[in-house]
Subunit: 360 residues, 2 copies
């Protein structure tokens, strides 16, 4: 059960629901398998579970993307906390996704994979958490899409979450919806897209790379780009002023980010997950946002990132105020960071004390 | 010579240079034909010429895109000013561009069209202005790429420009370079791109539409998008929460903007012009930016737009300070507008008095 990546890793598991999993839309998904990872051990009362929800391209392997939080007990103290990561349905990291075989057709689901919502992800996770014998989570934590899940947990399962920590998360603005729309368009523009049924042929790599490159611009701040890349020519020695193909450094960076992403992510998963992100709205399935927020019993911490333009800090602050007005015990903290939205992954030294304190 | 669009329109002309036009890069262009439009009349001394430079997708027909500036003498008083518009080389509105026939190959230039720079555009315009017998322009004005031309004019031909008015123009930041790079990638991702040689086949429409949609996000402000589109479903009655294809209103808007753009613009022109925009740097061809800026003799007005995130007002203010430090007579004004970069086209009521005053 030991793992080379993290000495504290306890194991990787799969939970498969027998029978169809009913989705919020009314559609069903079968099979519905969840990949999850456990770091540390559940205590006797099973009261020390900390569910860490991943963002768009993350996985159940929390220590793969929040590794420093495990070092020197920076945030997670595995002598006290049992950290659980669960890959969301529709992703490509072990839970059922569009690349898996649809037992009805015998072919990959592809573009016929049903639409998913935050409510589906959280309900599937709640079933898993129940299977683990956890009546109430010590905390649910996440950044970006992970933060949306933390909020959705606090709304949908108020008595099963003691603390909810959501970083850089709120319903997307019109600009955020625009950027996700462009990313999906990029994938669909690819010559190999083939309506999402590309698993037995060429993969829409350049579309997915472009989607990622667009996303990277929204994850980072203009200041950070200026600081790191400015107007420098690409570092491999290109001459952007002399040739149409030669790039500035920022172009080389974006192309590289796009290319490495295509080696690890699936285009249909990208569509499904960005679509769920688009549709995140606390009011979903309730009479109003206020009714939804009034359900929250967890101590909630909302974290805005000062230079985040995808989920502007002001919007997260405003959402916190609406939570308070609905009667929730919610606090707002702002992470001072020039990393933009990615601050929750990149500025961990500043992030750590905020989360550590909220876990007490 | 009358024109239905504008009662003050005097005429459309073509100027063709005999022999090759030498470009700043060392390459040559042949033929080099400029399409230009004249509104009003040159006075006897030919001292009332106002050159209005267009932005990325504009044309020589100034009254087509700055129409309100001609009404009621809002900005241009054609009893006093003679307004001249010149389509930039490489564009697709009458001046020589990649869709034209290369006399050497007998086929459209396509992707083999030489790289252009701001210096080339301005030099070709200076030749034309000389042909018109204008020794010194009363003013050169432009927004965005047009503003870059106005600045380049003041630098390259200091004694031939009395006033230079540049709105929302400065060298692109790393974020701006990133966004242009993504737009060119979108075009190249299109299945019909064919290395830019698509004139006798299918056109890379979806790539060009996506490029335009990305650009629209950078031309507008997040506030304006929020005000106009918020999280509303597409106005034609789509259900983004129920279907992968259904869109939010902002998605419908961007798709529409992309689609109408493909009817009026050429993908190779788009690449050439965004590339020239990338490469705009006052220092080009001089020892330093400071040396270049010290050449300016025109009274210069630099206009920043408060909500512009493509050319942030702070950068335009900073450039103005560097102009002043280099000894130029430069002023800075900020247009308060929530329209973003497009404020120079969209917020004309506020823009008009600023330019009108600068023209005195």
């Amino acid at each position: 059960m030991s793992d080379p990546i993290s000495p504290t890793f306890e194991g990787d598991y799969l939970l498969t629901q027998q029978g169809p999993f009913k989705l919020f839309s009314g559609a069903t998904l079968q099979p519905a398998q969840l990949h999850y990872s456990i770091y540390g051990k559940l205590n006797e009362k099973r009261s020390n579970g900390v569910l860490v929800c991943h963002a768009l391209s993350g996985s159940a392997r929390v220590a793969d993307w929040w590794e420093p939080f495990f070092q020197h007990n920076a945030v997670f103290d595995l002598s006290r906390h049992c950290v659980i990561g669960i890959n969301v349905l529709g992703s490509c990291y072990g839970s059922t996704g569009p690349q898996d075989t649809d037992p009805v057709s015998g072919k990959p689901f592809g573009h016929s994979f049903p639409l998913l919502s935050l409510r589906d992800w959280v309900r599937s996770q709640a079933i898993l958490i129940e299977q683990l014998g956890i009546r109430r989570l010590h905390a649910v934590i996440g950044g970006s899409l992970g933060g949306m899940q933390a909020l959705q947990w606090a709304i949908d399962y108020p008595d099963r979450v003691a603390r909810a920590i959501a970083i850089g998360a709120a319903p997307l603005t019109a600009m955020g919806l625009a950027l996700n729309h462009l990313q999906r368009s990029a994938i669909r523009t690819d010559a190999n897209w083939n309506g999402g049924n590309y698993y037995d042929g060429a993969i829409p790599l350049s579309g997915l790379a472009l989607a990622r490159a667009i996303a990277m611009c929204s994850y980072k701040s203009a200041e950070l780009f200026e600081e790191r890349y400015a107007r420098n020519p690409n570092r491999n020695g290109e001459h952007p002023e002399l040739s149409m193909e030669d790039r500035y450094d920022i172009g080389g960076y974006l192309d590289y980010q796009g290319a490495i992403f295509t080696r690890r992510f699936d285009a249909n998963s990208y569509l499904l997950i960005t679509k769920a992100m688009d549709n995140f709205d606390p009011a979903t399935g309730y009479r109003s946002e206020s009714e939804a927020l009034s359900r929250i019993q967890a101590k909630a911490l909302m974290v805005g990132i000062s230079s985040d333009w995808l989920f502007p800090a002001a919007n997260i602050r405003a959402l916190t105020v609406r939570m308070q007005e609905a009667g929730a015990n919610a606090d707002y903290v702002e992470l001072e960071s020039n990393h933009g939205h990615d601050g929750f992954l990149a500025d961990l030294d500043r992030m750590a004390p905020i989360i550590r304190q909220a876990l007490e």
